[in-house]
Subunit: 284 residues, 4 copies
């Protein structure tokens, strides 16, 4: 039986859960898991519903149309039902650091990530051998202050050509412009090497060292036009002390970065994230 995931958001109103679960039930859908959240300040309702549904494509289309007309319209919902058979397509943007890349490709190779990776883009050639060893296409697109706009056009062409669903900046070290962001809203995942909002911007480990913090962190977030200000998906931390040099912080941080980024990718792939008000809901 195929598993579908329905995500909903709308103004909070009485009867949403009963109506939706009843709707699925009437189609013989078997509800496997519901998670929901109400932002009682903003009065918004959010729901993620997994259901098993044994039906041909025709009936699935019927269910969707019926839901659209009779439920979504009535409650004024934003909603989405994914197609369970389609593997999402992810593009990786990297620069010179390899730890996140190895971590992602290792998981990909062992089947841990339900995703396709059509290609890797980099502004440097350093990591091409790694892409090669995993048999993934590697495009070297050099980015300078002068050619940035043209470079992004080349990137966009590749993204479009391969029907990329979402982008992961695996320590890409470049600021992505509005051109890409607007096309991939809430679909560009970045890893920032600090415990945001502390130490946004460049060289966070240097700043953390200077401030003498006892804990460092890493933050994965969706990219918005405000640098390091996008909705946070996942964070984690590790303890440090006065004995650690900046290089030590960088080394320790790498382990955080790769784990936190991979967790964020998984949450995105499992459709457990919803974004609103520049924050995320992370369903369990």
């Amino acid at each position: 039986m195929a598993k579908y995931i329905l995500k909903i958001s709308c103004n909070d109103q009485q009867g949403i859960i009963a109506t939706v679960t009843n709707f699925i039930h009437n189609y013989q859908g078997n509800i496997v898991y519901i998670d929901q959240h109400v932002d009682s300040i903003e009065n918004i309702f959010f729901m993620r519903l997994e259901f098993e549904f044994n039906a041909d494509l025709h009936l699935v289309k019927h269910l969707k149309d019926d839901f659209s007309i009779n439920i979504a319209h009535r409650f004024n919902m934003d909603w989405k039902i994914n197609s369970p058979t389609k593997k999402p397509k992810m593009a990786l943007f990297v620069s010179k650091y390899d730890h996140c890349l190895y971590d992602i490709l290792g998981r990909y190779n062992s089947g841990e990530l339900h995703v396709e990776i059509p290609f890797i883009i980099s502004n440097h050639l350093n990591l091409k051998p790694i892409a090669d060893s995993f048999n993934i296409d590697f495009y070297h697109i050099s980015v300078t202050k002068e050619n940035k706009s043209e470079a992004e056009d080349v990137q966009l062409k590749l993204l479009t050509k391969h029907n990329i669903d979402f982008i992961v900046l695996a320590r890409y070290m470049q600021i992505v412009s509005a051109k890409l962001i607007s096309k991939y809203q809430n679909n560009i995942i970045n890893i920032h090497h600090s415990f945001l909002p502390a130490f946004a911007g460049a060289k966070p480990y240097h700043s953390a060292f200077k401030r003498g913090v006892k804990i460092i962190g890493a933050t994965s977030h969706y990219v918005t036009e405000d640098l390091d200000e996008g909705p946070i998906i996942e964070q984690d931390i590790t303890r440090v002390s006065h004995i650690h040099t900046i290089s030590d912080l960088i080394l320790k941080g790498r382990d955080l970065e790769k784990i936190v980024l991979s967790r964020a990718i998984k949450l995105h792939l499992e459709r457990k994230t919803m974004v609103y008000n520049n924050k995320t809901i992370i369903f369990s």
Copy 2:
């Protein structure tokens, strides 16, 4: 509007969520939060449902009867709806250690715990001054190998007289017998000073020191007749190293014990725990 909490468990079947949410909806109940879980190996369904319900006691009784006859019976459910106005009554059993007691009473005093504490029982007099300073009755019931059964009879009489709902062993240091456990099944909360199942039994910090572990823990669990084998409610850990003596472990452990025990008490009070197969479901 009063908030009710409905907890359900039964064999997993299609349509439970739709049926129950519809039932609440038809009574004009406003569902605030649902959490559910399916143990797909054992095929058991669990649900915790919070709903707001603006009704007189007569209508509440009607809802309960209706649910019992038309829903619970049909799905063969174990179920419970709490009364939102009643404050649960908690008895504290202590011995000589004061850190858990201070932590619980401090929270109680500042209104953090929605609970009544009619009395504290101890086999020693050491902590009586603390009970006094919080104006809570303190019963000194000495327990020896010889008088254990009689002592528990005295305890039971007190528990019954005050309509105690659940018991917290806040480092009580005595094994509670079947007599009490059977009367308070899944209603006696203990704190064990190790990361169970490691170091069950007496002197866990000594054993942890001897084994040279790099992390110690504390575990709060419901008490069953098998010592330190009951369903785990909450655990937490802290790092240690070779520089720590047994006394250091004991000191560090205290901070774990009090925090872990208080978290378990809160989860129990919020009716977020369900027990089956000697494990807990902890709803979010």
Copy 3:
């Protein structure tokens, strides 16, 4: 045998450790533990040395004079040897929140803290009953914008009269002025309810909620004239999610605050902290 603690800082030079350990050894002192640190960027050497020394006061004085003239002078050291018999005197400043106060006094009462607490100062009367129940003097010194300077004079008089060694702001909620800070440099410990440098200033839990962080923290630091910018002694964190309201963050934060503040107090009492460049060295 009495245990002495020698703390040293000076420019890094060859032979310091050998010279100092030899010096202690020649006095029949038994070195129990050395910890040292070199800031290789600033070229500063730091050392904390515990030694057992069985001697009358006359010989201790001789050792100190000898060290001053023949060692400290030669290496141009800042240094200090504590007197092992003297219990440090700590003043507590509180406001309305009781969780840190309970935690500190609970530890104090059970002998966990090697300290005297001559009195508690507060700008409110709310926590007087707690002070009373622990038999500690409580001074209510109301602080307003207008009387701030006079209020601090009253505070200073009390601090001086009781020979207070250091001050703990246990959620005091008032900005302490230069008048106090200059008299108690690196001797005023504050607890800030965020993971500094994130969310400095007022209402950090509100800001954390707004930013949608997945982890909140607490930071204990020495107070300097720059608000929330002083040298960090200890930090810790806990995970949160979209389900937590601001009130939930505040509640969860309390457990962090009290544990982190108590750890900082202990490190200070054990003379394990050294401050330079607005950072701390925390010896193990």
Copy 4:
């Protein structure tokens, strides 16, 4: 200037630190860092001392001989000075799981580990392509109940031929016999996928699931003849809940296993571990 590491253990006696630091100082050695530990129950002294020493090999030999005759003999020390120029040689033993292998080889490739990896041994062929992609020799040595002794002879021959210093069992899934252990005492590092001593032996995630723990862990330890009973080098944990299936635990555990194992390898490489009484001292 070359950096040497001196490790010492002996009965605790007065004057060790002064004597040793003086000795190094007299040779113009610059002491960079000392860490020491006294087990006051067993009365054993441990020290790790880093010093910079600018000398030809002749003088280094002289220093060692001098130390041996005049210091080590007098205090009856176990001691070792490493050669700073020699890169340790590490053999990797793997089976079918690739996550630890990828993690180690990724770090190796990016220069994070100061080590040589002459070869990888496996009882299966599955991971050969990974070894190939990193250009590391891969020996497939099938191990069965019947041929175990012969297989270990083949392994030993390879280890000896390549002058292997230490072995890492990166989820090797085979019990290593006394034959290897005795040759590589305190030089075989294993990763066990539980929080030892909980869930020693086979299928720890299954046992953790059954017991309903709220936290799972991983443990890296030196291998001894008692399975999963060797000296613990490093441990770490992650939170789990009732929603996690056994497969989820296995997946979550992988991230622990690889990070914990890599930390243990680094500590071993930096000569920060000392073993006694089946426990480790981990110097900072």
